[in-house]
Symmetry: C2
């Protein structure tokens, strides 16, 4: 505005050399240009460093800039750890509220309620007068069919209430808060922009509705959504630091770390979390980020531990310590579990995707609230009678992983202790174990079916816990079977070697753990990160080999039936643009075979570096919908000068028309560095050198597509231009269909 | 040879379409072209996959090809684990041989010798009649000054003998076997070729001399060389599989995994090993390799464990389990240890590099054998009187990490037990502890000095153990000081909070461990991998925070004094071409500023796609020493067609002259796809389309160098061509000097 009256060409140019607001930013649902973002950050960093020698203030600024990344990580760790703690505590309380209420204060959960109680014998520790089931509270009696029905009804009522609240809140305030969030985060990390997906409303609503959804007893877990919650925290905290607020690439580095934080608090596995982020979700993960993620993951884990949500100074409910070594022969059942996990993983993905596609395409999708209520109702109805489905997913897993100790009162540990009652091992199963086996078998089928319809509903829903639960049940069943087989057939050659009478030889809990890992591996296709997460849960290198055998088998089996993991399948289902980094590009095509436009199509639209008028360029913009235009020396020579983005061009031309006096449609546009002297009579020229990308990426038309795809992946390009013998030919865009 | 008589143009061309032997291979001390290697492998893989549907045999071939990677990893794990076990056992035995010999069999080490003994009380467990010190054996007495002198002399004699053998063997058979090998492996992994560095002679000699060097009592460790040994195993085993034998890029993936295996067996830390490979040595580390490395590292660890070299079913001597939690206030001494570690790391690197440069430039370098003997002599002379320097590095570390238990007989655990003798904690130090402190202080100075001159001598020498020893001594000293301070000043505000009387509040062993990590971090600048290795040594997440605080401080302090870790410093000292992946390219230059030749230099030599004769091209080759030549449409238009490597060109022209009848200097060379019809009278043409790289990488002259360097790193290019407005301009090579 200041230069308006002057009309001096020189002044106007200076003014135009300043960045036009909007140039260099991105629209929603667009991909970022990693190279440009990293260049921007490099320039910023260089400027700060070079300034730092000028004054103490600048030096301090430079130091604070260097440490702002660490500070940000600390804040993310603290906030995410605290949120995870709150979620754990609230979900625990709400889950117990379905069964009863604490008289000494309704905000106590069952366990806390009975802590102050006098009846502290081991068997009776969860029975205390302060804790009253709904039947006791409403009907006065805790026995009999009537009480059972009252409890049943209250259980269903609470479940329906919770899930109704969850789905309503999600729909009303933050539609992005539903689902697990990992497919979208993968897409965002690969460079896509979805505004609001990691915003404050999503964070608040996802936190609240996650608690409600988990408590409602649906077959879902909190682990995936915790990654989303941590990423929201990170994104919001990024706004505190200019460095991260203004640079999409830097922000994605922080988000990668946040994904690690999410898994770290979900499983109490900081190293596993970092590897999960590296293996599963991240796209660009430099070493510096690796190290910072680890820091953030550790801070979060320690924050969560000091909150101590489970009262066992562990971060998760299902931490275990096994004491019995395993034997080589047991690798056979472990590999069987791996096959089961792989089959189930592949099957689950197909069934779930088919169901989700049906939801997208048929009228089912129009009634999300009703769908949630129906599924919750059925789940609650079927799960109450069976104690293994009535308990929450993590409690179930914890129970199944458990290595029966002498004092254990659970049904699964009801072994007949023979003559001398204090030797634990080598006992025949009692009636409790057989009942438990039946119930578990039913629970297995129930979980398998209900998880398929649950994942993808409009409530926050993670997949880790249900998958692990399925695997853990299968594993425990096989483990108990193996145990009893070994017990009854001590003389079998295969067992003789290591199962001497009187010694503990098979740990059913270990089978449950291996099964859980195998199923989770089949569904998500995680490998090393899953092994490390499980390793951090057991805390012993001893059991890595069984886990690894099962996870590898599971991955191979599942891959043979379908290459995609559940997250990739959902990315494809939702049509997000995502360039898979793990798959090799398998076709022997050259760049000239896939570039657009095809040779038969009309020629690609290009701009020339001089001689085009504002009106002509605006015409080109209006006629086409390309996201950018190559700039060439002249229409005849087609020699490439640079590339200009459509968005930058539109903004700059608008800006020139508004702020630069006298710009009309006939004004000439120059992309040259030195504008030739103009006659004073003509309209003023528009100089757009500033928005021209002078270093567009080019490949020759003979470049194999596999190499071109590699360049796209590794450098994070948006587009690449194809040249033929040095002449600009055509262009390929990022999300070419590889078929 | 078959086509010689025919003279038919068509037949000759078919013949020439076959690959000429030698084309596509590399010379020694050259860098590989990652893009070309990966393309080659992709083509091979595609061919096998497409064939697999044709017959059962091809299908089997395709499956065996897919699993050959896993089989190779298994073999590497088994071989490396077994070798590491042998090295551990032999080194243990030879080290003990310096002090005495076992009468029941000279091949028993001290501990094994006394296993069968009857004197099995705890204190006397290492005294048994079968084990005789040299004084007892030679002089008949184990007491008195004479015996001491005999032992002293034999100790020195053995040390000199071992180190003499080591240096002689290295010089005679495998000069590459000296040093730690990690700098060279980093360089090789980044794409450089050093023939024989990972060959069978290097493997054999390095294994033998490593045992000798470690046993000689020099201040060096076996951890770094174990990485080299594992890489040799991998390289040799690669020859069993065509897929890895013929492809330099694939082989480097295997070598990356082998580096993980090396650390896995050195520290019993498979996950730490994989992260070490990822963070410290690898250049190209796709996820598939990550997963395979982990498998190989696990196999190696389990092989080593089943060999059980230390008799404690652990993989390392210094495995520890602490039981006392640490307190927030202790972070202050931990950070102090970090500062010490950083300072020592930076100082050590400078001193060691200065010393190595002196060795390279002065006459010192001419007498490597003498140097080794003198250093061994001085080390043995000074280390015998002090029990902490007399023991081997890992024994020392093990002793320092040790958390004093009640039964511990070591000098460092000689606490005055007060009234009731069975409470361990809160005891004043006894005279033994004070003696130990003095000896440790002396040992600290001795180790610091002697390590500087030892690392870089012509024997296999690792740096991990000496660095850790220095840090562990410093840490233990600080730990004991803190412990006694807390004991004597129970009323100090700072101590009051957590050191209630009668409770164990400070673990000096933990300080030793933190100190060891800090010093190792300062020297190598490892971060996450070091934390994970230490985590796997202690087996508890509890102690990660102290370790992380110390390692981070150490890295920051050391980085402030000098950016390079010891391996990078040695790479630069030896002048290896290595493009550091961690450093940002900090200058704001454009490609046009660094490309060669400069604008003032004569024009770059180019070939044209048609019209040049064999003689002209040979002239160009003779006149220049460029490693490759751009091919353009014509000298006038300078439009780029492709790039041809000097080596390929020389081989092809030689081949054409030898095998293709009638080729003379006047024969025309065509890089075109379709050779224009030639008059029959002229000499036959040479068609070189096959060796032309049709997809050379190009950037524009306005590309910032930071981006160009990024492209070099990420894609692993050898060279990149620079264009100006689509015209081929000039070229930049990989190892441009960034200044």
């Amino acid at each position: 505005m200041t230069g308006n009256g002057a009309g001096s060409n020189g002044k106007l140019m200076d003014l135009l050399d300043e960045p036009v607001p909007g140039v260099g930013t991105y629209e929603d649902f667009n991909t970022i240009d990693w190279v440009r973002e990293k260049s921007k950050d490099r320039d910023r960093h260089r400027e700060i460093t070079s300034k730092s020698e000028q004054s103490t203030w600048d030096l301090l600024h430079s130091i604070s800039d260097a440490f702002s990344g660490w500070l940000l990580m600390l804040l993310i760790g603290l906030l995410s750890g605290a949120l995870a703690g709150c979620i754990d505590i609230s979900a625990h309380w709400l889950t117990d509220l379905k069964e009863g209420v604490c008289l000494s204060g309704f905000w106590f959960n069952h366990e806390h309620c009975c802590w102050g109680s006098n009846q502290t014998t081991f068997q009776e520790r969860d029975r205390c007068p302060q804790w009253q089931s709904w039947a006791e509270l409403l009907g006065g009696s805790s026995e009999g069919a009537a009480a059972y029905i009252v409890n049943y009804l209250m259980f269903m009522l609470c479940a329906l209430l919770f899930s109704f609240l969850a789905v309503i809140l999600v729909r009303a305030f933050a539609p992005y808060a539903c689902g697990s969030g990992i497919p979208e985060i993968k897409t965002i990390l690969s460079g896509f922009i979805i505004r609001g997906y990691l915003g404050k409303w999503t964070l608040i609503i996802k936190t609240i509705t996650l608690v409600l959804a988990v408590s409602s007893g649906l077959s879902l877990g909190k682990e995936g959504p915790l990654v989303h919650v941590a990423c929201c925290c990170a994104n919001i905290l990024c706004h505190l630091f200019t460095k991260y607020r203004q640079n999409e690439a830097k922000r994605r580095e922080v988000l990668s770390a946040a994904a690690a934080v999410g898994v770290s608090v979900a499983f109490g596995a900081p190293i596993g979390g970092v590897l999960f982020s590296l293996e599963e979700v991240s796209y660009y993960f430099p070493l510096k980020t690796l190290w910072r993620s680890f820091f953030a993951a550790l801070v979060a884990a320690f924050t969560l531990r000091s909150i101590n949500p489970f009262g066992n100074s562990r971060l998760v409910l299902f931490y275990v310590e096994f004491h019995t070594p395993w034997h080589m022969v047991e690798l056979v059942p472990f590999i069987l579990l791996g096959i089961f996990g792989g089959l189930w993983g592949a099957l689950f993905i197909r069934a779930n995707i088919a169901w989700c596609r049906r939801r997208k395409t048929t009228r089912l999708g129009h009634y999300p609230v009703l769908e949630v209520l129906v599924v919750t109702g059925i789940t609650a109805l079927l799960s109450f009678p069976n104690s293994y489905t009535r308990m929450s997913g993590s409690e179930l897993i914890s129970e199944l992983f458990n290595d029966c100790s002498l004092l254990d009162s659970s049904q699964l540990c009801d072994y007949n202790s023979s003559e001398n009652s204090n030797t634990l091992p080598d006992r025949p199963a009692g009636p409790g174990v057989y009942t438990a086996l039946w119930q578990l078998a039913l629970a297995l089928f129930f979980k398998m079916l209900v998880t398929v319809v649950t994942f993808g509903m409009k409530v926050p829903s993670g997949l880790f816990i249900p998958s692990m639960a399925v695997g853990a049940i299968a594993g425990r069943l096989l483990g108990v079977a193996m145990e009893q087989m070994a017990l009854n057939h001590h003389d079998w050659l295969i067992v003789k070697g290591w199962c001497s009478s009187g010694a503990d030889c098979i740990t059913p809990g270990l089978y449950a753990m291996v099964g859980a890992a195998a199923c989770l591996g089949g569904v998500t296709r995680m490998t090393i990160s899953l092994v490390v997460i499980m390793f951090e849960l057991t805390g012993g290198l001893e059991y890595i080999v069984p886990l690894m055998a099962a996870i590898m088998t599971s991955k191979w089996v599942a891959d043979a039936l379908g290459r995609e993991g559940i997250y990739e399948a959902h990315i494809r289902l939702n049509g997000y643009p995502f360039l898979e980094t793990k798959e090799e590009y398998g076709h022997k095509t050259l760049a000239q075979d896939v570039m657009r436009p095809r040779q038969s199509d009309p020629l690609l639209v290009v701009l020339t570096q001089e001689g085009m008028s504002v009106g002509e360029i605006e015409g080109v913009i209006a006629d086409t919908d390309y996201s950018g235009f190559p700039v060439v020396v002249s229409q005849e020579s087609q020699r490439l000068v640079g590339f200009v983005l459509r968005r930058d061009l539109v903004i700059s031309l608008d800006n020139a028309r508004k702020r630069q006096e006298g710009v009309v449609s006939a004004s000439l546009v120059f992309f040259l560095e030195h504008v030739p002297p103009q006659p004073f009579s003509g309209p003023p020229v528009v100089k757009l050198r500033g928005i021209l990308d002078l270093s567009p990426f080019t490949v020759t038309d003979h470049t194999p597509m596999a190499i071109a795809v590699d360049i796209f992946r590794k450098l994070g390009l948006r587009q690449c231009l194809v040249t033929h013998n040095g002449l600009f030919a055509l262009q390929i865009n990022k999300y070419i269909d590889p078929m």
